[in-house]
């Protein structure tokens, strides 16, 4: 079977091997799992052990959460900066934009409404 035929005549849904990409294969998943577990464990250990200044804890947890998302995106969703990854990066950007619009919009709308519709007696 020639190469050209392999590309053209596979059934829809079939795809080429993706072992070579960054974060692919068993090794990639293992590293990802390790990192994800580490970040999760840190999020539980930090507040328990009093290692950091307590008021900064929420920010530290936020940083860990964002790092966790990054690990998932790279190692499990395989969104990298490789040349064949434009679709994935665009999809991620689109998703992030929509999440931002809906959450940001909702917070703004509900906040404005609560401010406007509050019972006047409660402002006192």
């Amino acid at each position: 079977m020639s190469d050209a035929r392999q590309i053209l005549e596979t059934a829809p849904g079939d795809e080429a091997d993706v072992e070579h990409e960054f974060g692919g294969g068993v090794m990639g998943y293992t590293v990802g799992l390790g990192l994800a577990a580490l970040l999760t464990a840190t999020a539980f250990v930090l507040p328990a052990l009093n290692l950091v200044w307590p008021p900064s804890l929420p920010i530290a947890l936020g940083v860990l959460a964002i790092a966790q998302m990054g690990v998932h995106v790279v190692f499990f969703l395989h969104v990298t900066t490789g040349p064949d990854n434009v679709n994935n990066v665009l999809a991620l950007a689109f998703g992030a934009l929509i999440v931002f619009l809906i959450i940001g919009g909702s917070v703004w709308i509900m906040h404005a409404m609560n401010a406007n519709m509050m019972n006047p007696a409660m402002h006192m």
Partner: protein, 666 residues
């Protein structure tokens, strides 16, 4: 044992739903007996029900949509006649029944009429236009369809078993909460939409993947027909917006089933959050409905004007701009809720801005027609009617986007007239244009031109006569969903409107006649060549109906309007392109997964609605077992031998060669 389900659920005391239900049940039974006696069951099972072929699934989607559009139209007839007679009287529909009718009308028309129609057209057309053999996940596609059908079945079941929601097409709390809607109506609504919603999201995933990942060699983004672009935009919107609907309805269900307080007025709930979330889905939804219709017109207008679409790049830009801005306008559905001047101003401005890319498209279609040799076939009649009607609807929409004006017109008949003006004038006209346009590709013969023309004229006239009076009564202060009224000034307009329903009914009957006559006279309407309209996109390069594998050899697209170019070249040189080398083709095997999973989903939905918990468990295990059985199958594809492919393609080439002699190149 049977939860809340008792004999009281059957409305023995209400003659209208009972009689309607009995007629439908008898009709379904008659059809089932007929196809069993005729011995068609094995054929239907093998070739349609278990089919994973995108073309078959597309046709089934459209068939479901047509059925549901008719059901929704019956509701519309009842509403219009009720309002025509309910002047200083109670009319013939009691309030609780009238409320169910307008709720069912909206729900069915949007979710089970317009949506399946558009998804059906995308299913049929997108892989053909991309020059590929099927969608990315063929079995998933079948699952999507059957889950949609499952939702439609549940909604229609509510006609005879229990009741339907009385809250309108969106279940606004607190009315939809247990306190005010203790019956099963809202549960029917929610579970039907949750089930069909899963199907819709899967469709979105499937088509985004197909369009981004599976295209014919050389089919770069900027060579895709506009319909593929609008399908991509619509499916991106589905993927982004439908999870919001699912989450919102899930929260409402938690309120209703487990005593949560997301949207109640007690316990810290906030029903305004429901408005906010449901419209964060609801506004993208209207663009999910209209974008594929824009794509249809972008195929029909160039074909029948004999010119490439004007301003291809601006068309693509406009499509993607709509896709993004669709997520920035949702507050205009509740300007009056009290978010204040700042918020209203921003969302009002965005709502006016989204009209700009739409306007770009209208001008592009007009300029496509300008200077072209326009053929006024039935799809073209629908397209021209769309351009006029949709512009009127769009302008009233821009008017409603101005918050002060919206405060006067919110929830008035003016609003009702506006959104019917864009949904009927846009989506429904687009659906009918698309159906007429691609019918020969799907079945190998055209729809009868004369009957189709009269059907279009009557439907279009009916639309105007129904909805223009509603603008007037809206401006005179009539609110929507009135079971009866006593303002004399509205009465004459309601009588005009009900006459329009009659015209539209004639249009629909004529459409059925068109289909009947076309099937009867199919030999004289036969499309031998596979290109009955002198088309420009790849779907017209294959036979009508296309073989299972669509293309004997995948096209190598090396230009925009690739098919048009090779057709002109062939016509000039009076020879077909060289015969390709045929090879074996692997196609996915049919699978009952979709049908069986949807069967269990229907049972589960029904059991959840009536609180029959053991049945929920059984159905869930059944659905999961179906998935496991599918995941463990090891024989996934079947091979179509090169000899068969060659034989089919030789027949196609022979017909083309014959047609070439009569064809004059442009």
């Amino acid at each position: 044992m049977l939860g809340k389900l008792t004999w009281d659920a059957i409305p023995f005391d209400q003659p209208i739903p009972l009689a309607a239900g009995a007629v439908v049940a008898l009709a379904v039974l008659a059809v089932l007996i007929y196809i069993t006696v005729k011995g068609w069951v094995p054929y239907l099972w093998r070739e349609w029900i278990t089919s994973v072929d995108h073309k078959r699934i597309g046709v089934m989607y459209v068939a479901l949509a047509i059925l549901m559009l008719m059901r929704g139209f019956i509701d519309a007839v009842m509403m219009r006649t009720q309002q025509a007679v309910a002047f200083r009287s109670n009319g013939y529909l009691p309030p609780e029944h009238f409320n169910q009718i307008f709720s069912a009308h909206g729900t069915i028309m949007i979710f089970f009429g317009a949506m399946p129609f558009m998804i059906g057209l995308m299913n049929f057309v997108v892989p053909l236009q991309l020059g590929v053999r099927d969608v990315a996940f063929p079995t998933l596609n079948s699952v999507s369809f059957w889950l949609t059908a499952s939702g439609a079945l549940l909604v229609n079941l509510s006609l005879v078993v229990g009741e339907f929601s009385r809250t309108g097409w969106l279940p606004f709390p607190p009315l939809s909460e247990m306190t005010y809607s203790p019956g099963v109506g809202v549960d029917y609504y929610c579970w039907a939409l949750q089930i069909s919603g899963v199907g819709t999201v899967l469709t979105g995933v499937n088509f985004v993947t197909t369009i981004l990942k599976i295209r014919a060699p050389g089919m770069t983004y900027m060579r895709m027909p506009i319909f593929c672009w609008t399908a991509l935009a619509a499916n991106l919107l589905i993927v982004a917006a439908f999870p919001v609907l699912t989450a919102t309805l899930a929260m409402l269900l938690l309120d209703r089933y487990l005593g949560f307080h997301f949207f109640t007025n007690t316990g810290g709930g906030n029903m305004m959050m429901f408005m906010n979330l449901i419209w964060a889905w609801g506004h993208p939804e209207v663009y999910i409905l209209i974008l594929p219709a824009f794509g249809v017109f972008s195929c029909v207008v160039p074909t029948f004007s004999g010119k490439p679409v004007f301003g291809y790049r601006s068309m693509v830009m406009a499509t993607m701009a709509i896709c993004l801005i669709a997520f920035m306008v949702w507050l205009h559905h509740f300007f009056t809720m009290g978010a204040g001047g700042d918020v209203n101003a921003i969302f009002g401005t965005m709502s006016a801005i989204i009209a700009v890319p739409t306007g770009v498209k209208i001008f592009n279609w007009l300029f496509t027609m300008y200077g072209g040799r326009v053929r006024f076939t039935v799809p073209m009649i629908w397209s021209v009617a769309f351009m006029i009607t949709f512009t009127v609807g769009g302008l009233t929409g821009v008017l409603l986007a101005v918050p002060p004006a919206d405060f006067m017109l919110h929830n008035s008949m003016f609003l009702v007239a506006h959104f019917h003006n864009v949904i009927v004038g846009g989506t429904v006209f687009g659906a009918l244009a698309g159906m007429t346009y691609w019918f020969p590709k799907a079945f190998g013969f055209r729809l009868h031109e004369g009957w189709g023309r009269w059907s279009a004229y009557f439907t279009i006239a009916g639309f105007y006569v129904v909805f223009m009076p509603l603008y007037v009564v809206g401006l005179e202060g009539m609110t929507r969903r009135l079971q009866h009224y006593d303002v004399g000034a509205w009465r004459p307009w309601m009588m005009v409107s009900v006459f329009g329903v009659l015209l539209a009914l004639v249009g629909i009957v004529l459409e059925i006649v068109t289909i009947y006559v076309s099937i009867r006279d199919r030999e004289s309407l036969r499309d031998e060549v596979g290109d009955p309209w002198d088309g420009r996109t790849l779907e017209w390069s294959t036979a009508s109906p296309p073989p299972e594998y669509n293309f004997a050899v995948l096209p190598h697209v090396d230009h925009e309007e690739y098919y048009w170019r090779i057709k002109q070249a062939a016509a000039r040189s009076e020879t077909l392109p060289e015969e390709p080398h045929y090879v074996d083709i692997e196609m996915p095997r049919n699978s009952a997964t979709g049908f069986v999973a949807a069967f269990f989903a229907t049972v589960m939905g029904f059991a959840l609605i009536w609180h029959i918990w053991w049945m929920v468990g059984v159905a869930f295990v059944g659905a999961y077992a179906t998935f496991v059985a599918f995941a463990w199958r090891d024989h996934e594809e079947h091979v179509i031998p090169a000899e068969t492919v060659a034989r089919n393609d030789h027949a196609r080439r022979a017909a083309r060669a014959k047609a070439l002699k009569a064809y004059s190149p442009r």
